[in-house]
Point group: C2
Chain length 322, copies 2
């Protein structure tokens, strides 16, 4: 297991959906594959830190998916297995990979799920509230003792239907991550700068807005940070890109234990790196062969893609004034 976490890292607690997906894109079609926000996030994070999942699956959940989690070193003590149907999502993408079209969403066993954290999970330093009903996110927060950094994700469905609970979640987290459409919907403004400020006023000191193929922007106490996206030849399956981003981000933070602005910026790049790998194949297939050396190499590519020289000796102003 040379590509799982180093033993020095702090564990990351992730709550969110674990499910089964049917997905169709212009480049193919799969059914019965591993899906769910917590699944994607946990796998991405597992390259950086130990991961503990809090979620529920039904008795139809395939053994191979459990085996995959275990192959990534993911702790499944908090994954309840109950009679009933696992959460299922089916959807498709056209050529605009930024836009998922849902065909069917069945909550299944998540409908009656009430997270009950194993005692060893309650002192988690790092918590990722992946996309799930904000009521469940709050129940997890209530059980965690004194976390150092909590990040939450969400989606349009909860912004519409569970706004109050979502606002309670936001008031209690350090970092909110959402995509551009969700930020605009939540705040009723087109300007992402204004939306980010509004969200920061709701609680989180840091807001990260994911922009799909256009990268991500982080707004915090200091300067904005704009991360490029990785220019891929083609996107095979965009499902889970945002969750992989969140997992990569929080996994790296848990690994380093460093929440300085400089390190948050690095975490955004690691999140972007993991999202860029995720979309290269269906479901989590790319993660099955991904090596940590590839992660480091892609980080360097991001650096090269974003690089330009500072105003230096040859700068316009200095030429003119000097």
């Amino acid at each position: 297991m040379s590509d799982t976490y180093p033993s020095s890292s702090s564990p990351l607690l992730i709550v969110g959906s674990v499910g089964i997906d049917d997905v169709k894109t212009p480049l193919g079609e799969v059914s019965g594959v591993l899906g769910g926000a917590a699944s994607y996030a946990a796998t991405a994070a597992s390259f950086f830190s130990p991961v503990r999942i809090v979620a529920v699956v039904g008795d139809d959940f395939p053994q191979e998916h459990l085996d995959f989690f275990r192959s990534r070193g993911i702790d499944l003590t908090g994954l309840q297995n109950v009679p009933g149907e696992t959460f299922r999502w089916s959807g498709y993408y056209d050529f605009d990979v930024n836009q998922a079209h849902s065909l069917d969403t069945r909550l299944g066993v998540f409908q009656d799920f009430r997270p009950d954290l194993p005692d060893g999970y309650r002192d988690a330093d790092y918590v990722l509230l992946a996309n799930i009903d904000p009521t469940l996110q709050l129940q997890v927060l209530d059980q965690v003792r004194d976390p150092k950094l909590v990040m939450c994700d969400t989606m349009n469905f909860w912004i519409e239907g569970k706004r109050d609970d979502l606002l309670h979640v936001l008031a209690r987290v350090h970092v909110a991550v959402l995509n551009d459409a969700e930020a605009r919907q939540l705040c009723g403004t087109f300007s992402l700068v204004q939306a980010a400020r509004q969200i920061r006023e709701l609680g989180p000191e840091t807001v990260i807005i994911k922009k799909g193929e256009h990268g991500a922007v982080m707004f915090g106490a200091g300067a904005h940070f704009s991360a490029p996206s990785f220019p891929l030849e083609s996107v095979k399956d965009p499902t889970g890109a945002g969750d992989s981003f969140a997992g990569g981000f929080m996994g790296y933070i848990a690994h380093t234990g460093d929440t300085s602005d400089n390190n948050l910026r690095r975490a955004v790049i690691y999140g972007s790196v993991m999202a860029s790998f995720d979309v290269e194949d269906f479901s989590q297939d790319r993660m099955k062969t991904l090596a940590r050396e590839e992660i480091a190499a892609r980080y360097r590519s991001f650096k090269e893609i974003a690089h330009f020289e500072a105003l230096g000796e040859l700068s316009l102003l200095e030429k003119l004034n000097g």
Copy 2:
């Protein structure tokens, strides 16, 4: 004129529309203002290098607009003034500032325009074929002797209606700049990576895709370059942002005479800087008060926005391996 070009710079030749605009945005409304691709590009470029315009206006063109060009040190020898109506555009923007809605476009005197370059213009080293009928872009190219760098811009109207001429233009330029929708339209693919490669196969070694509020990406012989956009609180009038980008880019290249990859990257940032100022006010009003110190300060802001640390001593891989 401390904010016009330094005398050491090479002149930049710009062909494109000069016109009169009526524009409405969620933040206001103006009519009879200075518009046209060449106008915006020339003004942006004039902060970096001497500029020569090749275009035509009618006898209704306001003196104040000519005075503004002159205040920016722009050479108007090649700006024909003929009887008839100046090019006019009227349009509006909703909250999605990336999407212009045209209400009316009247070519006016551009309909019978045939560019005739003053002899002194023909040895231009740097040429910007701003958005205009590609037939006119070709006529200008035919008259220029041995330019070092030619950049062309275009729009959906010419991609649809004058595709053959546009392909001839592309075969003869070094840099093509277009927005993401235009790149997709021209190449019939959603992937910007694939579109850029297709366009490079048509002629230009370098392709720059403008993505509005999402920045710009440059594809060349080397690595991709992704430039962030400047996170503005609000966009008052997006008209001319792309033209200001092209003008800032080419003005900086003409100023430095350096077409290395590193300097093209800087030029993309200067183009982005000029676009970010352009949208802060209607028409070219922001340019009337813009100082070169502000340009340099915003360049530094772009650097800060895009900055993240390379994999260094504390890197994941080295921690694990070391």
